[in-house]
């Protein structure tokens, strides 16, 4: 049974508790690694399906422009 230093109520409390636990439990780093690697894999798969291989850059730039991530230089 895990003994908590305090009962978390807010998101910030959970962040604090996790950071405290991270100092003691190295296994949490492995969980974090899994989370990050899965996120990257999912993103790669999503955009590769959306834009294809042949015109990836062209389609990606169009997508980014429409969302305001690529802005004209003198906007």
């Amino acid at each position: 049974m895990v003994k908590l230093k305090f009962i978390p109520k807010t998101d910030l409390d959970y962040v604090e508790l996790y950071a405290e636990e991270l100092k003691q439990k190295k296994d949490l780093f492995n969980q974090q690694r899994q989370f990050i690697n899965n996120q990257i894999k999912a993103s790669q798969s999503l955009f590769s399906n959306m834009f294809g291989k042949k015109n990836f850059k062209k389609n990606a730039r169009q997508f980014l422009k429409e969302r305001g991530i690529i802005k004209p230089l003198y906007s």
Partner: protein, 197 residues
């Protein structure tokens, strides 16, 4: 137990590299041949254990002459990166000249991406963190981040969004044993002075 050690002022974290670490490491390998840098913001917290998603890694770089940027740009392209803003370095240099951010991702991928933020000495706070780097090492991946006290305060005072406050809390708790009150005061002064402008 602290979750990290300090070796000659370098923070060493014992964990395996993530795909995100490998991406940043590849990018820095090409970039470091041409210019200095500082990794800031979300990746600082994530690389030290914070669990949250991210799409971009912010990297501070000093503005540079066109001929150096040309070599850097071509080297990054050669190492398999593509630039969101375009394929022609002449066109992209206009962004550098105007100090507008540009982004690079791996060929055939959209995320993660490195967002280059150009700075000069007029940007006092950014110039301060750039010239007072903290080294951090995970396995054979070593990189530079701002002083922890600066990063925490910048997130709390300037950025101040929900995820920024959470990132700052993570750093405050995880690095509690090495945070320095005098450094906090020094950094706070610089950040508040910069905020006025």
């Amino acid at each position: 137990m602290k979750g990290y050690t300090l070796q000659n002022d370098t923070i060493v974290i014992k964990r395996e590299l993530t795909e995100l670490d490998v991406f940043v490491k590849d990018f820095l390998r090409a970039l470091k041949k041409h210019c200095d840098y500082l990794i800031v913001s979300g990746f600082v917290s994530i690389s030290t254990g914070r669990v949250r998603a991210t799409e971009d890694i912010d990297i501070l770089i000093k503005t540079m002459p066109k001929e150096i940027f040309e070599k850097l740009f071509l080297d990054l392209i050669d190492k398999g990166f593509w630039c969101y803003q375009g394929d022609n370095f002449e066109e992209i240099y206009a962004y550098v000249h105007e100090m507008q951010n540009i982004r690079f991702a791996k060929e055939g991928q959209m995320f993660p991406n490195m967002e280059m933020v150009f700075i000069n000495e007029e940007k006092k706070a950014k110039h301060y963190e750039f010239t007072h780097p903290q080294k951090i090492r995970i396995k054979d991946f070593e990189f530079k981040i701002p002083p922890l006290e600066f990063e925490i305060l910048y997130k709390e005072i300037i950025l101040a969004g929900k995820k920024d406050m959470e990132d700052a809390k993570h750093l405050r708790v995880f690095f509690k044993d090495i945070l320095d009150l005098n450094k906090f005061n020094e950094c706070k002064k610089i950040i508040l002075e910069d905020k006025k402008w």
